[in-house]
């Protein structure tokens, strides 16, 4: 099959799904709408597979498909096409998107079955998939930006899906505006690259990336990549722009799974991996990325400990895990970053869907303090959720373990790394283990705190099947990227498939040498041990001895409050940025517009009036006074003439 046709179908099917569901938005049948939506994504998934297979058949160095539909903008030197670029990276990415996306669509059929706006919901979801595909496949930064903004728009619509609730609508708005801040930075990054390189085509940019590292802070590549990273912090919820993501949980849970865990939020990481030659050329940017990533890991994980909303916990966990990916990018482990992106997509989607299943079973209840002991009501959900739990806390053998430890090792070992980054990463891992165990304990294990009126029930099959699939992937997904030292002890020495696959397009950081296996094993052991300790601690505290934790929180109440209030970051932002701006605007309006500019015009009018009335007073009706003016004028004129 022709590539262009495949790509066309790839794009067209979600777009058509969007339009069809959009037109029949008043229909309430979840099955029909879900079938259309899911089918659309499934077709895309098939296309992705086809493309992937095609790529497989090509030579490793020439694995790329470039489809150009025509020129979008062509002005002077600016030439932007509707061009799509499928290579190792993007083909894998669209597989994740369409695959996970399809599963989540499937899940949604059950989850949204009672909602009136289900057709609208599926149309939005398809719209999201479409934009995500554009983002991933776009061959230039501008095309990427189209998808970038498009997914933001879809996210806005989906977060605010239940718009009659003002807070949810506000959350959508917040997400969009915060993203916009990142987008603005992204735009500037684009401008910088366009002005200095004369192109916005990603491949051309990558090929133009300087081979000599840029050591200054204000070099073109450093600035450009910094601004692009600024865009990524918005989209991928990093410090300082992560605040929108927890609020984004206002949307339906499958949306959180798809957009705010698996796909959209990883766009920033994808973008950095995509442009890795440029980023490698800017060590300062890399450092910033690494530091911000590491800080985000710790900050988000610490907040996650004190959250009581099941989705909020997962949201902060997502932020934290994204931090890991950026940490990986920052230390130059782009493959590892993408690896973690993939595994994270599996297990975090799984956990979100699991939480969705719980919420569905609990008829909308999200507070984990009101759950507990759900294991017996929701056995399948519990089982799959546990797989995700095992993966995220880094249980050896599960997918999360491979990716996370690779990141930790690289952050220590890479020439761009630092032991402090490793320390932060490990602290994050430890915390992750703690809060995830806490989540498990409070939700599924221990005594039931479910209200008597509620009768939790297991979800239907359409919801469970995606859970199973994702659970399986969470377990085995890690085997595509087994680190070298582990593969060495494994039977058959399975190769790091992922690294091999990415070999031609992802550069490595210069100066990277093979590490000391002993050190690697040691560090791995340390982190796993710490995670294990914190898991056990959490189990002890939340299942065995719940009163202890209460005493403990009482003891450190101020800190606890601070953490559970998310370090008051939202309040800080509102207090120091948003409200001042609004107040400033009000004052600008009141003082500059109304009291200054308008006053000035009135004043000018009054001046005219005043001068008019002064001149009027000269016109007193007395003929002789007039004659006197004439005389004076004559005298003056004559004097002037005489003086010459």
């Amino acid at each position: 099959m022709d590539h262009t046709a495949i790509v066309s179908v790839l794009f067209a099917s979600p777009l058509l799904g969007f339009l069809i569901n959009g037109i029949r938005r008043n229909h309430h049948s979840a099955n029909v709408a879900g079938a259309i939506g899911s089918l659309a994504v499934f077709i895309s998934f098939v296309c992705s597979i086809l493309l992937w297979i095609d790529l497989q058949g090509m030579a490793p160095d020439a694995r790329r498909i470039h489809v150009v539909y025509g020129s979008w903008m062509a002005i002077e030197s600016l030439k932007i096409d509707f061009g799509f670029w499928i290579d190792q990276l993007s083909s894998l990415m669209i597989l994740i998107i369409t695959g996970v996306g399809f599963l989540i669509h499937l899940f949604s059929v059950g989850y949204m079955s009672h909602d009136k706006g289900v057709a609208k919901y599926f149309s939005y979801l398809n719209f999201f998939i479409f934009n995500m595909l554009v983002l991933v496949l776009g061959d230039s930064l501008v095309t990427l930006f189209v998808g970038w903004e498009g997914v933001g728009l879809a996210s806005y619509l989906l977060i605010g899906f239940w718009f009659t609730d003002g807070e949810k609508a506000a959350a959508g708005m917040k997400a969009f505006i915060v993203n916009r801040i990142g987008d603005a930075a992204f735009l500037i990054g684009m401008f910088i690259f366009f002005v200095s390189f004369g192109t916005l085509n990603i491949q051309e940019l990558n090929s133009m990336a300087p081979t000599i590292m840029e050591s200054t802070w204000f070099g073109i590549v450093t600035l450009g990549t910094l601004f692009l990273f600024g865009g990524a912090t918005g989209k991928s919820a990093q410090i300082p722009l992560y605040i929108w993501l927890p609020d984004a949980m206002a949307g339906p849970t499958p949306v959180s799974a798809l957009i705010h865990a698996a796909t959209m939020v990883t766009a920033g990481v994808y973008m950095i991996v995509r442009l890795n030659p440029l980023f490698i050329a800017a060590p300062n940017t890399m450092m910033v990325i690494a530091v911000i990533g590491a800080l985000t890991v710790v900050l988000a994980a610490s907040i996650g400990i004190a959250q009581n909303d099941i989705k909020k916990v997962l949201a902060y966990s997502t932020v934290s895990q994204l931090g890991y990916m950026f940490l990986a990018c920052g230390v130059g482990a782009f493959t590892t970053a993408f690896f973690h992106l993939m595994t994270h997509a599996f297990f975090k989607a799984l956990m979100f869907l699991g939480s969705g299943s719980v919420i569905h079973g609990m008829e909308g209840e999200q507070d984990i303090r009101k759950m507990g002991g759900l294991k017996k009501y929701l056995p399948w959900t519990h089982l799959t959720f546990m797989m995700g739990w095992l993966a995220i806390i880094g249980t050896p053998g599960f997918s999360g373990f491979f990716s996370k430890d690779e990141i930790l090792w690289m952050s220590f070992h890479s020439p761009r790394g630092h032991w402090a980054l490793w320390v932060l990463g490990v602290i994050g891992a430890t915390m992750t283990a703690f809060y995830m165990t806490r989540l498990m304990c409070l939700t599924f294990w221990g005594k039931s705190r479910v209200a008597k009126t509620l009768h939790p029930h297991e979800s239907p099959a359409t919801m469970l099947i995606p859970l199973f699939v994702l659970a399986a992937l969470s377990v085995v997904g890690g085997y595509v990227g087994i680190p070298h030292i582990i593969s060495e002890i494994l039977p058959g020495h399975p190769a790091n498939i992922l690294e091999h696959w990415f070999q031609p397009i992802i550069k490595t950081v210069p100066g990277l040498v093979a590490g000391d296996p002993a050190m690697e094993w040691g560090l791995m052991g340390a982190s796993v041990a710490l995670a294990l300790i914190s898991t056990i601690l959490a189990y002890q505290l939340y299942v065995k001895n719940p009163s202890a934790i209460e005493r403990f929180t009482q003891k450190i109440n101020p800190i606890y409050q601070l953490v559970s209030k998310k370090y008051l970051v939202d309040e800080l932002y509102f207090g120091f940025i948003v409200n001042p701006i609004v107040r400033l605007s009000e004052n600008l309006w009141a003082y500059i517009d109304v009291r200054f500019i308008d006053k000035c015009t009135y004043w000018a009018g009054d001046l005219m009036k005043g001068s008019g009335s002064f001149v009027r007073s000269l016109q007193n009706g007395n003929l002789q006074t007039y004659a006197m003016y004439i005389g004076i004028g004559l005298v003056v004129a004559l004097s002037l003439v005489m003086m010459r």
């Binding site: 903008m73 189209v146 009659t164 003002g166 401008f191 500019i597």
Partner: protein, 506 residues
């Protein structure tokens, strides 16, 4: 004769309507006229050659021989799309006025058609005096539109509108007359033809404010700045918009503001290249201030229409910045943004007008939860909103992107500051949308006695062309840009001594 016909056809329409016996059929007749006018405007696509930068379809007759004043019309790539925009909006505006204008229908249509003439004339005139006549003529019907069919404080608004614009253009008249004398000095005979003005070389001394070119430059630039409106001179706009009836607002935002920016391209840049280059920083600065200031002030407006009006200030700021950084990308972007703004803001005003017809309120706080009451309306409103905040694949993105890209190429700091407008634009529009469409149902929306009725067929028919245009312009900008490409290219390449040649005349 195409251009003359294009300009004066509306006058004919106005006369016919003035004499039309049946009052009840005026509206469809006028609509038919405007559609005919639009279709006639489409003939330009056939007649106009986009591949050359020359002045085309020229009509040139001596008007007042002694002063060299001519009846001189022409069209080139810069004005081409503005003409199309003007004729495109007319039927939609008229259709939108069917409900909002309920008194003195005949007078309204006459006003409207004369306004069309004035605006088209402004875009097509290549003689300074003729241009000035059209420029001033456009004020009068607008004055009546706001003054007769406007809101409660319409007299205040009309006065402000009139005095602001009038005060600016008087300076321009002085400058025009002065330049006519310059032509007399240079060529022996007086002439007010723009092409002769182009041939003048006006002495410029950079550091002296009171040098001839600088003064002339500011005389022209100020007149246009009021119309645009540029930052400190913008206060007439919100008042005029709030008090204007829906059609008036649409014309004002859609076309009349473009007259200012268009004239910068047509008059200021080519005539005073050195002064423009030397003083561009002021306008870029004011443009950037306008972008940010307009957005910030729009954010806190309690009135939807006023909010959109301030957003116009912000958007026009982009255009000004794009014009004054003066490179290919930014100029094309500015031209494109003019069209975008005409379509998006025009559609927004029409939408607000439809809402106002239903509830008779524009206070944001009276609304809330409108999305569930008026779903179709909401869809349209959001599409237009996204166009207004420049979401990619809508028209707004192309214009803003090109402007910002060009600006960054020339003055990075200006672009960086302007980009904040992108964020603030999203902020004020979405915040407004959130308060109006989402959340609890507001007092007006929840009123059980007067349930809101969603858009009817007529209103959908009005809005669909806008939406189509939004997406066409967002997806296929090349189609539009190629018509202005040659002219802009020529303007950039010959900025020091810009001269237009007439097509066919060597």
């Amino acid at each position: 004769m195409i251009l003359s016909t294009l300009i004066f056809l509306p006058v004919l329409f106005a006369i016919v309507i003035a004499l039309w016996p049946q009052k009840s059929t005026i509206r469809p007749i006028a609509l038919g006229f405007s559609i005919a006018h639009f279709i006639f405007g489409l003939t330009l696509f056939r007649e106009f050659d986009p591949n050359i930068a020359d002045l085309q379809l020229v009509e040139k007759y001596m008007w007042m021989e002694r002063f060299g004043i001519q009846y001189f019309l022409g069209i080139d790539g810069i004005s081409f799309w503005l003409i199309q925009l003007t004729v495109f909006l007319a039927p939609l505006i008229l259709l939108a006025s069917w409900k909002s204008i309920d008194k003195n229908i005949r007078g309204f249509h006459i006003c409207f058609f004369i306004l069309q003439t004035a605006m088209l004339g402004t875009f097509l005139a290549f003689d300074a005096i003729l241009f000035y006549v059209f420029w001033e003529l456009s004020l009068i019907p607008m004055y009546f539109m706001i003054g007769i069919w406007g809101g409660a404080r319409r007299i205040y608004a009309t006065l402000k509108f009139f005095i602001f614009t009038m005060a600016g253009s008087l300076l321009m008249l002085v400058a025009i007359i002065y330049m006519m004398f310059l032509t007399q000095q240079a060529f022996g005979t007086m002439s007010s033809s723009l092409l002769d003005f182009y041939k003048l070389s006006i002495p410029f001394i950079g550091h002296e404010f009171f040098s001839m070119q600088t003064l002339l430059f500011f005389a022209f630039a100020l007149a246009f700045a009021v119309k645009v409106p540029l930052f400190p001179l913008h206060t007439w706009l919100p008042d005029a918009h709030v008090e204007a009836p829906t059609p008036g607002s649409v014309v004002l935002a859609g076309v009349m503001l473009k007259m200012g920016t268009y004239c910068y391209l047509r008059w200021v840049l080519p005539l005073f290249p050195e002064a423009t280059e030397y003083w561009a920083w002021i306008f870029i600065m004011l443009g950037v201030i306008g972008i940010i200031y307009g957005a910030l002030v729009a954010m806190v407006q309690p009135d939807i229409k006023k909010l959109v009006a301030y957003s116009s200030v912000s958007h026009m700021g982009y255009i000004i910045v794009g014009i004054f950084v003066f490179n290919h990308l930014s100029l094309q972007g500015s031209l494109y943004q003019m069209l975008n703004h005409g379509i998006s803001t025009g559609a927004l005003f029409i939408l607000i007008g439809m809402l106002y017809e239903r509830t008779h309120s524009r206070e944001i706080k009276h609304y809330g939860g409108l999305a569930s009451a008026l779903p179709i309306y909401t869809i349209f409103f959001f599409i237009v909103t996204f166009s207004s905040i420049a979401v990619p694949l809508t028209n707004g993105f192309v214009g803003e992107f090109l402007i910002l890209l060009g600006t960054y190429k020339a003055i990075p700091m200006a672009a960086i500051f302007s980009v904040t407008g992108v964020v603030l634009g999203a902020a004020y529009m979405l915040w407004m949308c959130k308060r109006v469409f989402f959340g609890e149902k507001g007092p007006l929306v929840a009123d059980a006695h007067h349930p809101l009725v969603d858009l009817n067929a007529r209103e959908i028919v009005i809005l669909v062309p806008f939406v189509i245009m939004i997406f066409i312009m967002g997806l296929f900008p090349n189609v539009f840009l190629k018509w202005s490409e040659a002219s802009v290219d020529y303007l950039i390449k010959n900025k020091a001594n810009y001269e237009l040649t007439i097509k066919g005349a060597k």
